[in-house]
Symmetry: D2
Subunit: 428 residues, 4 copies
């Protein structure tokens, strides 16, 4: 049985790798997921049914959404589902309700790609084997192509034996994890409110091939902000006093954002990664914009950083007589994994083929993940949640133009997740 | 006649030089002025009669006022007038109303000393001749002792011949010119509202001995501010996030006050001259205070500087989550002299003994003077006003611990001012 | 005689207006000037003969120079002269040496256009009459098309009567006045070293139509700088301490450049008009660049501003552990006009047709001009120099996309300049 | 046996509490320690014998050292030892060399007081019982009076039974632990170079009465700096360009010190706790000084902070054309305790009277301690080191004017330390 699935996993992954779509643009990807899971017998909901519009963050402008809808259609999107996935509503949930009593268990994968131009090196495997990105400037350089394939693979295994389970199994295909922009809108739409168990997963992240982390506890809470300062232009030689210097406001904001105090509650971070301001050497700048992010080891620490950042930005604007707008274009919280559920996954993984070492938990501070919104909600409602990692061999680090995974991790992951489903919802 | 007056002028000046009193503390000085001018037959008003309490700026704290009242009493203040000159109300006006129709002509002198410890050098004339300051830490280092003496001398001359004049002659003895703190409160009390002519004067300021400037037009408008930032203390190692860093607010204010834009309307200045903040190396500073000043070639330019400064200060406080209070402890406007009146003074001076050269006007930007409040009000009401300068030989520059004047300038000045009074109000 | 010249002036001006070329790219313009003045009998020198390569500032990159050479050729550049005008060497001088003793008199005009897209409004005259810019993104919005035409017109008049003059008359056609980038290189090549008289001129600048300013004294000295900070990129979450934050350096530079102290020697200005830095929200910025300018009422004041600016930039880099490079891409000095020469021009203008009012001088601080380099050198060498302005009616202000002049000013200007040549070098 | 010692411990402690001496001024304290331990038979070394002069940090000015020597003499300092303890050389070491083979075991206590005015409240025990500080403005508010007493008590116990031990036992009485100023100079003098075991100890620090921490691992590395910026004064109105604004330099330093990047290697801190600058509102400040500190979870992290701080300070000075001097007035490193030695202490404490609970280690980041210099050196040389804490009941927190300990902790501590000496060096 596993041989054909292994092949299918590769095919899916390579098709997705060849057609990467960035956050909220995953129209082709989601339409194909929806079509396939419908075919398998899952109850599929999608788009605005499973996303709270106002809780999406950093949605691309409408013209980009429209243009990409055309691209998706041209590149084989499923025409039945595509219309409901446009305008920045690209989430899919697929539910297998056995009709029998039993827990609600939810698996979550993510689907979006990155704004990276994929390597054209002759020895870059996707190029060599012909599945290099055809969506120039977008690339699956973080493994979400693998995640989506694993989700479809898990559904395929479940559908093979409808009598094996009790309760309900739901798979979430989330858009816009990069920039931590998409999960909150699905969480707010209630897709995990009834969960007893929740399992998110990722491949790679530095975990060696064949190893498994049952509980990734180190995700930092984060807030991504786009800030614009608006002042008033004036000729810098003739009437400097008429200006309201937006660039000066932005510069003060940069310096003082970095000067936000450390927090005794844990690690914090702040970075202004980009600043663009002004329109000419001899004109007092009437506009300047920043891209920044804060992080915190806990949601509380990040909340402090965000609050301080807002005060700094508003104070810097006031100093220069400028206005400012702060847009939160991404956000994630921190969340610790449920020890019981993680232990269970660890046990399953310990007996799965392809896993040679199981780590109970990794607590070191790492990047950020918005699956934490799902996890926190599940725990608030009394359920258990964890985030696990499947180690794999990487051709290059995450977010590198030469990123690539070892494809046998796909089946390994499906096996562990299917085993987990059996352990949690199996009829015996 | 002039010989004895010349001696009296020196005696008054040396007595005042020996007993210097800083702004709003001129209790001994004012009491002696009031006593002498009452004796001469002038109608004397003083203290709260001629000052609007709320318009005084930078009044010393009550304990200092009280302590100095004791000092004044111990050092020979006139006991009749002293009680009405306490609590920061040290202005005196003396009016010679002929009862005959004629113009209201006002002369203004100032009385206050500086916070400077006078030189103890053996060759410093006041020390050598025994009239060095006995009020340690205070010194007449700007010539206001001379100004007050000139005012008394002018009154003495007027009183000698009551029939010489028509109309009304009034002499203002102003407190707290240093820091531009006292004139506004007298102006607001209405002491120049009925003026046809107004003449303020100063000795020295770099004008050579024997020269006379009939119109000093270059005084810059200015605002002096004391600013305090209040934050919240916290242990910098243990709970840095609990602090609200008042010193950080102050530091940002300093940098950005200096970064206020130039103004195309004329020369501007800004300086933060002092900053004191914090209470210990490992404590987040809960308090920091600034002493700053703005200046402008015109009142409009200074108004711009002040407004920008306030925005900077409030924005800097906001950035750090601190509070701030801004106290205006001194202020002056700019004012151009009336050409007609200045020309008249120039003509009088040109024929006065001791004056060998007359300058019609000096327009170069210079320091600040709050006599401008009187001048502007007089001009608003339709009168004419000017500010004239009697050159003298200086032992060292103004505000220097070795400052000293050539005393023959005292009589020269009285002659010119008396001649002006005759020219304006003489019976013929 | 004047009728046909008036027509020619318009034709030249409209041809130049239609083919605007920015600084150091005036290849078509200069080639046509060189060809026409050679035809008239002037001794023409050009390119590297009359420019010191290292003293040029803000030369465009080579690929832009090369691309524009193609454009110039396609748009009718003179093929004989073009080869010597490539690579950023676009100056032309044309000399009329009578062989008779007499003064060396030099006239200077400028040739470059601005980076502005010309208006396409139906009522914009150049568009209506068919001479709107065909070099999209470049526009003669400051009247240099008129200046070049006036220079050719002046040459035409001179060539009409070779016996009218003594001494030598030279006309300078300067590139890259915008941004004050071109004059210094011509001055350094010695083109005014032998001048007895030097006259630069401009049309418009707010002077009403029919009026003439004989001496424009208010040009401020200025320095234009492009600054790049180079740091080290690092992941802002994972290894922030590995970064060297170029954006933080740039931000500190912005704030502190504006905080450079005022100067008692005269008006000063500083502006950072543009800042671009960083490559991603979560990456510590490894690069940031500024465009800034300083100005001073005198060369000394601007020298102070420049020196302080450099200290600020280097200190800001040091604070962040970054490197910085400072490129001076434009510079001009201040210079007062020679009163005698200006008086002479005023007299000539007062009797010229088309001039109804003559102003001896305008001393108000205004923009900047690099003709000052020529003027200062001429005065250093014992000659006289002035900068005059021909008022004209403007459709919109200088540097506006709808800028346009009244074309009868062309002939008016030629008449005044020719009259000046006669007054200075006429045989009698 | 314990009864009389318990009394002596109290007497010593109360005498020391009544005569608190700040860092490098512990002349009376050290002289009494030296006298008593000499009397007990220890080989005492002191002053320059056991301190490297140049490695002392933050030594008070000479006039303060001289004045305090008088005070010490007047207040009962031992006249034999005092002369060798003057001029900032107040360390004492006391050695008990059995002459028998065996390990070198070193105990370290500290002796200095804080710049705090002790409470005069009627219910403050030291006041009530008559041992409130007689050295006004200095107070033992951190328990070092207890530490010194414990050191003497330990020596007393050891001397009671000379035959109980093998090897060598040495007790270090360190000056100037507050501000982490004194240990480095003793370490540099070699006083622990031969150590097999090293034990430092502290009372209180929040550990409950009767509890014991065998290994305090959380001390942060730290650097204390005093910084002075020197610029050039100038009149802010008349010649602002002549100034070099030291206050502006200091303000930029403050902002940017707080903006030093976080470090992925662990917790970091930075604080500018005090800034004083400038001499008058209208004078460009020629001087400004900062008191600041950095901290790091590890010596590496603190080293990074210190290095960055120095770059910021030098860059800020450069920006303003000012000079700066950076004085390191205190420094400590981080150091982890040796697990084996700590376990041994824990075992001894577990069986000691007065101890009801033993904590193996406390790893939470806390304040700083320069005993780490001794510890690190001991470990480098192959020995073991630990830092233990004796919980006690506090009347108020450390560094509070009402700080007081429960005195039965004195005997408890002596018992544990003596038991440790027996365990390490006992003859059986």
């Amino acid at each position: 049985m596993s041989y054909p699935l292994e092949e299918k996993l590769k095919q899916w992954r390579r098709d997705l790798h060849r057609h990467p779509e960035q956050g909220f643009l995953e129209m082709r990807t989601a339409s194909k997921v929806a079509a396939e899971l419908t075919r398998l017998g899952f109850a599929v909901r999608l788009g605005e049914e499973v996303m709270m519009a106002d809780e999406r963050m950093g949605v691309p402008p409408q013209r980009m959404l429209d243009a990409h809808a055309d691209w998706a259609l041209e590149h084989g999107a499923d025409q039945e589902f595509l219309p409901r996935l446009m305008n920045g509503f690209t989430a899919v949930t697929a539910e297998w309700d056995t009709g029998r009593p039993g827990p609600v268990t939810i698996f979550r994968v993510d689907m979006d790609a990155l704004p990276i131009r994929e390597s054209d090196d002759a020895d870059h495997v996707p190029r060599k084997l012909g599945f290099r990105s055809v969506n120039d400037g977008s690339m699956h350089a973080c493994g979400h192509d693998a995640h989506t394939s694993i989700g479809i693979g898990l559904a395929t295994r479940i559908a093979e034996d409808p009598d094996a389970f009790n309760g309900t199994i739901r798979i979430l295909f989330q858009p816009a994890e990069e920039g931590t922009r998409g999960a909150k809108s699905m969480m707010a739409a209630g897709v995990v409110d009834d969960a007893d168990f929740f399992i998110a997963s990722h491949v790679g992240t530095g975990v060696p091939h064949g190893e498994f982390v049952a509980a990734a506890n180190g995700f930092m809470a984060t807030t991504k902000m786009d800030v614009t300062f608006r002042g008033r232009a004036s000729h810098a030689g003739a009437q400097p006093e008429e200006g309201r210097n937006a660039l000066l406001a932005a510069a003060n904001a940069v310096v003082n954002l970095h000067a936000i105090s450390r927090h005794s509650g844990g690690t914090s971070r702040v970075n202004v990664g980009e600043l663009h301001g002004g329109s000419g050497r001899n004109v007092i700048a009437d506009s300047a914009s920043l891209k920044l992010e804060t992080r915190g080891e806990t949601s509380e620490v990040n909340g402090y950083m965000r609050e301080q950042a807002e005060a700094v930005i508003r104070g810097a604007a006031m100093m220069a007589g400028a206005d400012c707008t702060i847009n939160v274009v991404g956000e994630a919280i921190s969340c610790k994994c449920s020890e019981g559920l993680a232990a269970m996954l660890g046990a399953v993984a310990g007996e799965s083929p392809g896993i040679r070492r199981v780590h109970k938990a990794d607590n070191a501070s790492a990047g950020s993940e918005d699956a934490t919104y799902f996890m926190e909600r599940v725990k608030e409602k009394g359920g258990q949640a964890t985030y696990c990692i499947f180690g794999t061999e990487l051709a290059a680090g995450h977010h590198n133009e030469r990123f690539d995974i070892h494809e046998d991790t796909l089946l390994t992951a499906v096996n562990v997740l299917y085993g987990t489903a059996l352990a949690l919802n199996g009829r015996d």
